[in-house]
Symmetry: C2
Subunit: 262 residues, 2 copies
Amino acid sequence: MSINAGIGTQVPTLRLAGLPGFPEIKPGDDLAALVVRGVRRAGLDVTVGDVFVITQKIVSKAEGRLARLDTIEPSAIARQWSTASGKDPRVVELVLREAVRIVRMDRGVLIAETRHGFVCANAGVDTSNVPDGWAALLPEDPDASARRIRDGLSAGFGCAVAVIVADTFGRAWREGQTNVAIGLAGLSPILDYRGQTDPHGHRLQATAIAVADELAAAAELVMGKTRGVPVAVVTGAADLGLVIGDGSARELRRRPEEDLFR
Amino acid sequence: MSINAGIGTQVPTLRLAGLPGFPEIKPGDDLAALVVRGVRRAGLDVTVGDVFVITQKIVSKAEGRLARLDTIEPSAIARQWSTASGKDPRVVELVLREAVRIVRMDRGVLIAETRHGFVCANAGVDTSNVPDGWAALLPEDPDASARRIRDGLSAGFGCAVAVIVADTFGRAWREGQTNVAIGLAGLSPILDYRGQTDPHGHRLQATAIAVADELAAAAELVMGKTRGVPVAVVTGAADLGLVIGDGSARELRRRPEEDLFR
């Protein structure tokens, strides 16, 4: 992908709006239809290349990716880790079932690789923003989820938009969590500057920006965690050259052979 | 810190604007004065609580944190790693001088802890967007840099604003880099939701959002790497409850005893 924006005096801008007033999402709900309704209710205009960032939690709920804790029988290791970490043994059992590899299991923290290849705490299983007695799992195929929602939104608005399914992940070395992209449709997740020249005429050698993660992070700022705002609309990203191609969030996974922190 | 925003139908919004047309920054330049001029030139309004995200590179340049490569004598280990990584041995020497601890040195990648306690590639030393034959080092004290610029901006605009000094860091497990906060003034870097309740009435147990990193990431989207836009203004963050307190980017460093990826 190429970045055409040169050095000029134009003011690059980006606008983010959160969509409030969503109902509690149930399995089978049509998220695209609810988002279209939310956009109309908020009085927002949607144009080609707008990016919709949707929190993983409502995608999982719409897809029925919820587990009822009282149906879960914890294994011996789940009970052990429950004692060590203070977490519900049934939630730990779900974490172990969702994980394909344990990266760290120490000091109360369980970092795991999910079946999608993402590395995150508790394999993405969590109990926040779900009804009591349930836990939410990550969507089976978050890119496919994003594509379905994108198709519905593009049809609903009559123009091609992009979708990012976002979840909140912790990081190595840094405190606090940020939103990242776990699924996407209608854009490439990485803007690769390698081989391009900076204003000093140097070729950039290592710069490849995870724009999908930056868009997800930006969207979190308007969504928040207690505001009941599960969707954000980003306007202006296409004019900034950020909505190019049609990639997969899988491109954001570091390959095992290049991962120094396995 | 408390988050007062309840569930409602108000549309939460955030606006980002990049400031183009900056001159090449030289040691001793008054960044706050240049930013005030850039804001006026762009025709932007500034209000209390606006957040200015400033790329580390121009802060380092203004503070004279540049090294002329032909004055650097590479040590034996720097020459060894230069051969292994293909990097200029004088740049490697600077990396080793800026580092207080090597986290990984493998497969051409050198991850180091800086004197500030940040973990990043090459201890933050880099040669992009600097004149030929020079390398940029991180500011000595990025929080102090942010405070100085914040004081200048608050005086220039006649209202209290916040400042984030941002750099582009890679991550464990994920491809691509994102902008993060390495210095700040006028806000707390982490919005701690622990003990608050979600819309289902659950107490959030682990959620603490690194809002300064999310603001830095959002700002990168309007700044880009080849556009010559080193500063972004974020409007609306205060209304979202994101500009609270007066912290330090040091709060974003995970403590060694809690860091599973040392």
